[in-house]
């Protein structure tokens, strides 16, 4: 015989502590990208296919460089969270963890390389 109610035994477990972190960080990064993506399409994307000198000159200005660096950084952090759910839904067993670890490492590496490259162009 249990003397605790179901409610009492559930309180404090589940998503009550850190379970909502993932959803919240997805929400924050998605709103940030809502601003960044249109700016990226205006100030970064059209410069593909341009001559080397034009690209160097363009990204030596602070605004295009900041938009590029922020979009790469926030974008890959958003991807890291998103791809994790994809893996959790379709991959099970030991491969699940390894794949999440591998994709997380890839996201941090890609973000770091991208940001460092933009910073080098900018300064």
């Amino acid at each position: 015989m249990r003397y605790l109610t179901d409610r009492k035994r559930a309180t404090g477990w589940g998503s009550s502590k850190t379970g909502t972190d993932h959803a919240w960080s997805m929400k924050v990064s998605s709103v940030a990208l809502l601003i960044l993506i249109p700016l990226f399409l205006i100030t970064v994307a059209p410069y593909t296919g341009q001559p080397y000198e034009v690209v160097i000159d363009h990204f030596s200005r602070p605004f295009p460089a900041v938009i590029a660096a922020l979009t790469i950084g926030v974008g890959f952090m958003h991807f890291k969270d998103g791809v994790r759910v994809l893996i959790e839904d379709y991959v099970h067993g030991p491969a699940e963890q390894w794949l999440i670890i591998a994709m997380t490492c890839l996201c941090y590496a890609a973000a770091a390389f991208g940001i460092i490259a933009v910073v080098r162009l900018a300064i």
């Binding site: 998605s30 399409l41 296919g49 990204f59 991807f79 998103g82 991208g114 490259a117 162009l121």
Partner: protein, 127 residues
Amino acid sequence: MADVNRGDRPLSPHLSVYRLPITAVTSILTRITGNAMLVAALMFVWWFLAASTSPEAYATADWFMTSFIGDLIMFFSLLGLWYHLLAGVRHLIWDSGHGFDLETATKLSWAVIIGAVVLTLLTLIIV
């Protein structure tokens, strides 16, 4: 035994039995577009890395970026990007507790599809 019929019970219908409603199609497309954009994102990282390395490295990366395959990847990524962005807005609307009734959900589904095509064309024309 509580359940003597274990293993011989009727199964719930599987995905292949359903005709996918538009809300289901737009839901799975959100996931597909979001994850597919990894390719384009890595191409941009390569492009920036090359530009910050040397003119020769830039020439190689930019050649690939503007090649037929590069153009194809970028076109579909642009379509996927607008789609995913609008689908994300739809999620933000849902998060606020609105738009769950069937009629609104169907309308939002079409808005996401049509909006993505229109915004892609606008981007190609203007930018």
